[in-house]
Symmetry: C2
Subunit: 158 residues, 2 copies
């Protein structure tokens, strides 16, 4: 006999998520939440959010990128990107330059200030990720990446 009255309920004690753990998506989502909130916490002191940081990295890696391409890469709608680019430009982190061959479009580039902030942010994120991955070998990490990318490509269009 248990000490507490053995009702078959969860009114006291731990809540079981065993049923949800049967779905891999649940475990992946929980892990994703943990990683994202950690990254967000690391970026906050630099006045960056996950989106603005991602935008900075993408523009840095793709100089001359247009806003519609950036929106597409970030997986957000064009209208919603405008305020993000406004913010980054207003802080002097990126530049909007008119494209001579197509005066409708803007070519986005990272400024020197933006580049150094991006590098500092990247280092901070890398450090935090390494801490989260403590005890996980480089080989295991490679394996996660490979498996994730296989699932992603199987899932097709989203």
């Amino acid at each position: 006999m248990a000490t507490r009255d053995s009702q078959d309920d969860a009114s006291a004690g731990q809540v079981s998520d065993a049923g949800l753990r049967a779905f891999l998506g649940y475990t992946i989502k929980r892990t994703d939440n943990v990683i994202l909130s950690n990254i967000a916490a690391v970026l906050k002191p630099l006045d960056l959010r996950v989106v603005t940081f991602s935008a900075l990295v993408l523009v840095g890696d793709n100089p001359g990128l247009r806003q519609s391409q950036l929106a597409d890469a970030l997986g957000i709608e064009r209208p919603n990107l405008v305020v993000i680019v406004d913010e980054l430009e207003g802080r002097g982190l990126i530049r909007r330059d008119r494209v001579p061959t197509d005066r409708r479009a803007y070519a986005l580039t990272v400024t020197a200030v933006g580049k150094s902030l991006c590098e500092a942010a990247s280092a901070a994120v890398r450090t935090r990720e390494d801490a989260l991955l403590d005890g996980i070998s480089a080989a295991e990490r490679k394996q996660i990446e490979g498996l994730m990318r296989r699932i992603e490509s199987t899932g097709g269009r989203r």
Copy 2:
């Protein structure tokens, strides 16, 4: 010499996300998005969202669960859970019963209708996940789960 004028930009051609791929969180987030949108698509015909499905599974596994415990398990705030429970109760999928020993609280349970819908939904989600994991062995899947849970527990409180 390339055929197109070789500007060092991305105004034409593919956008590189190599810089973001350096962060494991990016790859995991993309995979998570794919899985979640696939699950959402599978649940839609059953008039379930990911939250309502998760709530159904949790209440089913923890009969007598209270709303505050459910909100906690789902990672949402108590006020936001109210409309979810309203919806599930309104559709006759769960029941709210007063707890005799604490008349402030409700004991949540899944009805017979809710149980059969939950089982159908679970089967559909499982089938879709299996399709996404096509080509990934049971051992690899176990490995993903183990590694994810290690990362999750290292990340601590969120």
